[in-house]
Symmetry: C2
């Protein structure tokens, strides 16, 4: 009987008898049955999450959820390998090498090795620096990067099977998304960056699970990790944005290492009146956090970006590419482009004259221009050179963006006026890559190979892709981590 | 012309002319003259703090402030050496040794060596685990621990003179206290632990100053450090409380290391609407943070605990010890003890039956009992054995604590009823160790020697004390760090 079945059994009223029927379960006697107090006030939230993280078996996870977990992981490996030559990664390596003596763990796509704390950090930075990672659209949290980075590093220190790895990965990502949902939207509204504040806890749960912590130790690990939220939205547009999930990854490992040896925390750091949730947000929704654990799977709603930029620009890019391909448009045919978009598009990505690739990712103008020119918006379209290319600049100056509050964030429209007087337009109800219009496995493959082709030899890249898909059944996650390097 | 003089010169209206007169100052042209917008809305706060940290020379600091900085440092060394055999330190060493390969930096009082990030963390934990460190009473922030721990670790990686060390120490502590003052009291009210949330920034400023960062790099270092606040008040009573300043120390070093090599952040992380101050508190007082930099010195109000427990209990202990000594009281003479105290005493330290030394530090009952029995409340009075001693337990059961909202936190009264019918009482206006009644240098010496006597040989302990007092003029801070070990 797994966690989900036990929980549902207990819910059906089988409390007294149920406990006596469950002798084989290590924590059965203490498993908390959720009641209104838990869901309303968050009572025992830290303990409930600890129990869930410790009790869930890979076999408990439905097949479609395992598949989505793997898709998240495949996407992670591709974007992190693909980022490995970014200046931010060079800086991390240069600045941390003098203080990291143990060559324990790999940096994806590189040859350098670091101790597991710094490796988790650097790969966490890499997972997000391209802004190409997985996204749960309720809060735009990018959960996989810090969790996978923490787990890969730890897997080179201790033996971890692929199955254990993917179980822990699912747990870390699921908890991270639920934590983010529970504080939304007030938490981000006051300035926090959800992709740095929540995954410390998810990563601690994932590593703690691999360590087979006791329930008490897991509660401490979650408490220490909750004590280390990272990052604010003012970081957007600088390397600090990727720092946040990177630091969350190392914070999670750090917390679990200490808790495993008996470093104590409180028993209710997440839900305490003077703890995490109350300090981090003016509103808490504990039923988002705790409700239906083991039967509702938030990871199922994870999405993968087809374009290497802020997700709110995606409908505009999708529309532009469709028009370009249908009418075989060339930039010099175009008189002007009108983009109709949700108001967030201008608020978050309104940079008219980006000067760097990183700024280009927050410019709807650059993004639509390169979508017309190249027919894609992959990482190469956000190089510094691409942003400063006179051809791109000329086209982006023809673009007008109109905020339309009636448009959902997933929707948008492009209207292109040609020099010959024709007007072509395309309305996008749900941009490609969203929940309704997800990237196929084949599109994920193409994204992976596109990102990794300049980094790894083609044959190695293909093998890594294949092994990523098979992560749940490979023998050694540590050997997988080693195979990501050059 | 130093920072303070320049600022005051600029304030007197010499803006245009002044700039041309200051060619020798590296940042003269950009030094921001404070105006109402800075003090009201925090405009340019991050840059102003960066400039202050980079421009302040040790010679700029008034003699009495240098003296208070040294007193803070002496107190730090004593309490951190004194904590080195605490279980929390053993756990840190055991859990981090497998991931820390470089033996770069010392752990005070120990023989093990760690990389500078982990050494800064472990010493930061040690600085606070006895709850015996310096306190700025407006917010009860304990600023010295994380700053000194970061600086000592760094001083073993790069050459640092004692003068540079103490200048950076002053800067880090001053900024930490000002940041804490600026968010008080709302920041702590919603749950944050001020001794973990602010010193990341102070430590980054201190290390960045030693690194001689450019202004831009210093702004990034502060931004990255601001992105890593640590800890909530629910940690009180567990090791997590000391984790918070410890992690702040390593976060500060980590941020400066990255910024030095060009890892970018925003230019206004502290004051941004979607940055540090706004997310961390519902109220900000920027004139506390920025006003009179270089002429108002918050470190001047730093205080040092005579007793190894929560500071709100100090008036009660002070009164109890005075009565004990004056009347030569023995526990078996006592019928009952009434303590009148500020209501915070019961709220924060109302544990009636502590079970561990750590819990004893948050028990006014235990504290008054051992004060009567031993005539002191040093670290030895807060061992697990002392807390579980039947004699102590018997006496603490005779103690009644009455909350009196008319009593200030620094004040209190003890009324003791003896078995022979006599009633003796003592009212304390300002407890020993407070701003009005500070510990003398000789009392600091006694505290230092008491804390270190079981750790270091007496002669070594005395030499370390002497060198701590002379820190501002010694040749090598790194050699000092090495001399703190066994």
């Amino acid at each position: 009987m797994n966690f989900k079945q036990r929980r549902s059994f207990l819910k059906q009223g089988g409390t007294g008898l149920a406990l006596s029927l469950l002798p084989a379960l290590p924590f059965a006697a203490q498993v908390i049955e959720l009641n209104e107090a838990n869901l309303q006030s968050g009572k025992d939230a830290t303990r409930i999450l600890a129990q869930y993280a410790l009790n869930t078996q890979y076999e408990d996870i439905p097949t479609n959820i395992k598949r989505e977990s793997i898709r998240s992981f495949v996407n992670y490996v591709g974007v992190t390998v693909g980022s490995c030559r970014h200046k931010a990664i060079d800086i991390c390596i240069e600045s941390l090498r003098p203080v990291s003596g143990s060559k324990q763990a790999s940096i994806l796509g590189r040859s350098e090795r670091f101790d597991i704390l710094n490796a988790a950090f650097i790969n966490g930075v890499g997972s997000h620096i391209l802004d190409f990672d997985d996204t749960h659209l309720l809060t735009n949290v990018h959960a996989s990067g810090p969790i996978a980075s923490a787990l890969l590093a730890y897997s080179e220190l201790k033996p971890v099977s692929g199955k254990e790895f993917m179980n822990a990965f699912y747990l870390g990502v699921e908890l991270t998304i639920r934590l983010s949902n529970a504080l939304a939207p007030n938490h981000a509204d006051i300035g926090w960056h959800v992709s740095g504040t929540h995954p410390s806890i998810g990563a601690a749960a994932a590593i703690g699970r691999l360590m087979r912590l006791t329930e008490e130790q897991m509660i401490w690990a979650l408490g220490l990790a909750a004590s280390q939220p990272v990052g604010f939205r003012d970081s957007f547009g600088s390397m600090n944005k990727s720092f946040n999930p990177g630091r969350a990854a190392s914070n999670g490992v750090f917390s679990a290492l200490l808790a495993q040896k008996g470093f104590t925390s409180s028993n209710q750091m997440i839900e305490s009146r003077i703890g995490w949730a109350n300090a981090m947000s003016t509103k808490q929704n504990y039923s988002e956090l705790l409700g239906d654990l083991g039967t509702r799977f938030e990871i199922a709603k994870n999405t993968y970006k087809p374009f290497a930029c802020g997700i709110v620009i995606h409908p505009a890019i999708d529309a532009a590419i469709q028009l370009r391909n249908q009418y075989q448009l060339q930039p010099d045919q175009i008189k002007s482009i009108l983009i109709k978009a949700n108001p967030y598009v201008l608020e978050l990505t309104g940079k008219k004259s980006p000067q760097t690739g990183l700024e280009g990712k927050f410019s709807v103008y650059h993004s639509v221009a390169i979508a017309i020119i190249d027919g894609r918006a992959g990482e190469k379209q956000y190089s510094d050179a691409a942003v400063l290319n006179p051809k791109t600049i000329a086209l982006r100056e023809k673009i007008i963006v109109e905020a339309d509050p009636n448009l959902a964030k997933k929707s948008g429209e492009a209207i292109i006026i040609l020099n010959d007087g024709r007007v072509v337009k395309r309305y996008i109800e749900s941009a490609i890559g969203g929940v309704e219009n997800p990237l196929s496995n084949e599109q994920l493959d193409a994204k992976f190979l596109d990102l990794t082709e300049d980094i790894l030899p083609r044959s190695k890249s293909k093998l890594l892709l294949e092994n990523s898909w098979n992560m749940g059944s490979i023998a050694s996650a540590g050997n997988f981590a080693k195979s990501t390097t050059v």
